[in-house]
Amino acid sequence: MTTTAHDSVELVDFDAVLAAYDPALGLEVHVELNTATKMFCGCPATFGGEPNSHVCPTCLGLPGAMPVVNGKAVESAIRIGLALNCEIAEWCRFARKNYFYPDMPKNFQTSQYDEPICFDGWMDVDVDGETFRVEIERAHMEEDTGKSTHVGGATGRIHGADHSLVDYNRAGIPLIEIVTRPILGAGEKAPAVARAYVAQLRDLIVALGVSEARMDQGNLRADVNLSLAPKGSGTLGTRTETKNVNSFRSVERAVRYEMQRHAAVLDAGRSILQETRHWHEDTGITTSGREKSDAEDYRYFPEPDLVPVAPSREWVEELRATLPENPTEKRARLQSEWGFSDLEMRDTVGAGALGLVEETIALGAAPQAARKWWLGELARRANDAGQELTALGVTPADVAAVQGLVDDGTLNDKLARQVFDGLFAGEGTPAEIVAARGLAIVSDDGALSAAVDEAIAANPDVADKIRDGKHAAAGALIGAVMKSMRGQADAGKVRELILAKLS
């Protein structure tokens, strides 16, 4: 069944697509590094700046100029590769990708061809509780192009423009291109997997500190490749590449759209044209760009102005030691260390309390206790006040201190809650509040014993029942003692005393 979308492009219902086809996904992500200088010269990599004010003979491609590799970019490339579980090449070269385009000053891009610095890696992607392992084919270093603004056309886009104005400030900015192997078996989750991959890759890049990695700023760019094959056939169909996908949401939508579009073409008995398409976020469609089958012959050859990059294994291990823990791995480790159930962990993460709980535990509280306070008492108060947990004004140190007082017998739960009251009221530290409000559990055994005697005397019938062996009746006496002690007693101890005295 087909439905017709705008521009008379036919689309098949998403469910119908999946009934007949298996989608294969591929993602090419470009990361713009946050180095201070460009990939092959010392021009500033900072954004902004007047047009053509961050250029030199090298990045402008002047005759005679030569490139020199930015060591920091190599370091970032290796760290990205390691974080993606890649092999790091023992020896690799840069290569020239030759084609003509006015925003490319040399009319070749210095990149890497058959010798990428990182290869054969993977990243586990979490999609609604299910894990997909995305295989990474390669990650390599290359340089960005200049930027053109197109003048005279209706839309400011290239088609219909009268001429273009080129600014080479961004020419030569370091890029790392990360390419996945075909992602198979995602089925109906393909759009979500694509989105989750890009989002979680982004988290990884940010955790590494090598890029701002913001799609909306263009320092993380994703090209989406999609093909359909008849369900169960095990083959790969003809793929299209979609560019101009500028947000996580766009990634998901573009995959979904292309799946529907491909299906309509294939259902009608036609073939998919292997081409590059352009995503339009406003209209939610892709349009045809350049035919990819008539691809330029890039005439790759090793860049003769640069020498090979051969990272020593010692250097690679040094860099491995600088990697932050992978977010997924971290969560798994913490859950295991803390002994939380899956549900408890999910709730903690969901409440945005992971960091708070982690810190509280680090300060000495038991995991379950930390979770209990943050997700219980404090979450309730935050809810009532319409605030985020982090904005409550109670710190992990406070929580750990309160729990510490419970642990050492100074407080029980009820008293602890009164301490929190005092914290919210700004009465000082937990210890100060306990002292000021006189909240400490009475440790004087004599006083406790006297209180128990009092309660027994005041409740002779209850006392008789207990003497007769109905220990459950002790509850009423315990309550009376706690009341007379204003809660500052350990209920368990009180019960023991009662039973001892009445046995």
Partner: protein, 513 residues
């Protein structure tokens, strides 16, 4: 005969440097003399594409001030020099002998040019060359050929014919050239001058408009071996802007030249490359070559024949590697950022692509177009392995032959070029015939080893200069200077003076000689 020329024009750069140091002359005087000589003869020779009289004289005046203050910037401070037009010179046009760069003035200096300026050498101007260094005769310059001072109807060699002719015609005591397949050495041979191609990486290429990045080197063009050593030391050394420049300093080249000049060759083992001689090599050239060998033996050297079998493939290898790299290097000339912009005829609103095509069609000469085509083909998918890929492997074989040879000899020698200077126009329409001029010089570029050409005399058939080429292992440039200086001193003694003293007088236009 240059005997009639004032000494200020014919003295070596080393001697002129001494004169400047002693106060016997001034840089302004030297520079003015060179400029006058250029004005007198360059109409006929056409060595220069651009002469910067004002700038050179100002630089000369500054040099004189430094000397007067007792603070020369270098040993060669104030000695004028000409620069091949393939090197970027801030403020001076840099055309690479091509129309596509007509009028382009670089906003930066090549590193070697910066070194010249720092050392105080006044830059007289830019010299003519085959377009983008593609050629062996300077006939492929878009601005007209340069004429050999020995016989103005003949080629001065190429691609650096301008620099060699300028020095041979006494228009400049020194010049810079570049050598990718022999473009310094072969002009040196056919003009009776000295030229060195340094070890690859020994001199910075930053600012050298690349032809074949893995083969190009900047080097000295001079009248004596000592001058070449002095200039080579000045321009050489590591450059952080050139990733392929070697970090080690060169071993004392000037010392080696001085030592060699004493003429003692005892203990030196010389290998004659079997494959670089015989049929197709001009008899007179080979005669002078053998006589030079005899002199070296007489001075104590041992000579053996060495076979380098893969050298027979050097030409083919070169004419695949070089055009491939050049085709990519020349892509940047596209009318967008600098240089010529030509609009296609009869097209109302041409696209960028159309303008690129029309500009490159109009701006590149035939030889450049040929090599771009060959290079594009050699790199094409489907052909890469058979052509460029194969060529890079044969390069390895050539390097291995050198390495094997250098295990038993200290230097390898051959005639620099198969013939003396041929008439202008004789080979310009026969690319293959033209390429044969580089037979002896190409192997050194492919392997990255250093080579020098030293005048070996005049061929008996035509009375024209021939060159003696000395090759050494990579980083052993000093051996080239030692043996070269030895041969030079022995020959000069035999000739009773420098070879250039036998060059015919040039017609001068008006100005006094």
């Amino acid at each position: 005969m240059s005997a009639h020329l004032p000494e200020v024009l014919t003295r070596s750069a080393a001697d002129l440097a001494d004169d400047l140091a002693s106060g016997a002359t001034t840089s302004v005087a030297l520079t003015r003399a060179s400029l006058d000589r250029i004005a007198a003869v360059d109409g006929a020779v056409h060595a220069f594409l651009h002469v910067d009289a004002e700038g050179a004289l100002a630089q000369a005046a500054a040099a004189d001030e430094r000397r007067a203050a007792g603070q020369p910037a270098s040993a060669l401070d104030g000695v004028p020099i000409a620069v091949k037009d393939v090197l970027a010179t801030r403020g001076l046009p840099t055309t690479c002998g091509s129309k596509i760069l007509e009028g382009w003035v670089p906003p930066y200096d090549a590193t070697v040019v910066a070194k010249l300026r720092e050392a105080g050498l006044p830059i007289l101007g830019k010299t003519n060359m085959d377009e983008f260094a593609m050629g062996s005769s300077t006939e492929h310059s878009a601005y007209g050929p340069t004429h050999n001072p020995w016989d103005l109807t003949r080629i001065p060699g190429g691609s650096g014919g301008g620099s060699a002719a300028a020095v041979a015609a006494f228009e400049a005591p020194l010049a810079l050239g570049t050598d990718t397949g022999g473009s310094i050495r072969q002009p040196g041979a056919v003009t009776g001058t000295v030229g060195t191609k340094p070890t690859y990486g020994g001199v910075s290429r930053y600012g050298l408009v690349a032809m074949a990045n893995s083969l190009d080197q900047v080097g000295p063009v001079t009248r004596t071996v000592l001058d070449a050593a002095l200039l080579h030391e000045l321009i050489g050394g590591h450059d952080p802007l050139d990733s392929t420049s070697i970090a080690q300093p060169l071993p004392g080249l000037v010392d080696a030249a001085r030592q060699g000049a004493t003429g003692d060759m005892s203990g030196v083992r010389i290998g004659v490359i079997t494959e670089l001689g015989g049929d197709g090599w001009q008899a007179g050239v080979q005669e002078r070559f053998r006589e030079s060998l005899d002199l070296l033996v007489g001075a104590g050297a041992d000579v053996v024949e060495v076979s380098c079998p893969s050298f027979v493939h050097a030409l083919a290898t070169y004419y695949l590697v070089m055009p491939a790299e050049a085709s990519s290097n020349l892509a940047k000339f596209d009318a967008m950022r600098y240089g010529l912009r030509v609009l296609p005829e009869g097209v109302a609103s041409p696209s960028a692509e159309e303008v690129m095509k029309a500009t490159r069609a109009a701006g590149f000469g035939d030889e450049v177009k040929r090599r771009i085509m060959i290079g594009t083909y050699a790199l094409s998918s489907g052909y890469y392995d058979a052509y460029y890929g194969q060529a890079q492997k044969v390069r390895t074989l050539i390097s291995r032959d050198f390495a094997a040879a250098f295990e038993s000899v200290d230097v390898l020698v051959s005639p620099t070029a198969p013939t003396t200077a041929f008439p202008i126009g004789e080979k310009v329409d026969d690319p293959l015939a033209m390429y044969l001029n580089d037979l002896a010089t190409i192997p050194a570029n492919l392997a990255g080893v250093p080579g020098i050409s030293v005048p070996s005399g005049l061929a008996s058939e035509d009375g024209l200069p021939a060159g003696f080429q000395i090759l050494a292992p990579a980083l052993a440039d000093d051996r080239c200077y030692r043996v070269g200086a030895a041969l030079e001193s022995l020959l000069v003694e035999q000739w009773g003076g420098p070879l250039l003293a036998q060059a015919p007088a040039l017609p001068s236009e008006g100005a006094s000689a």
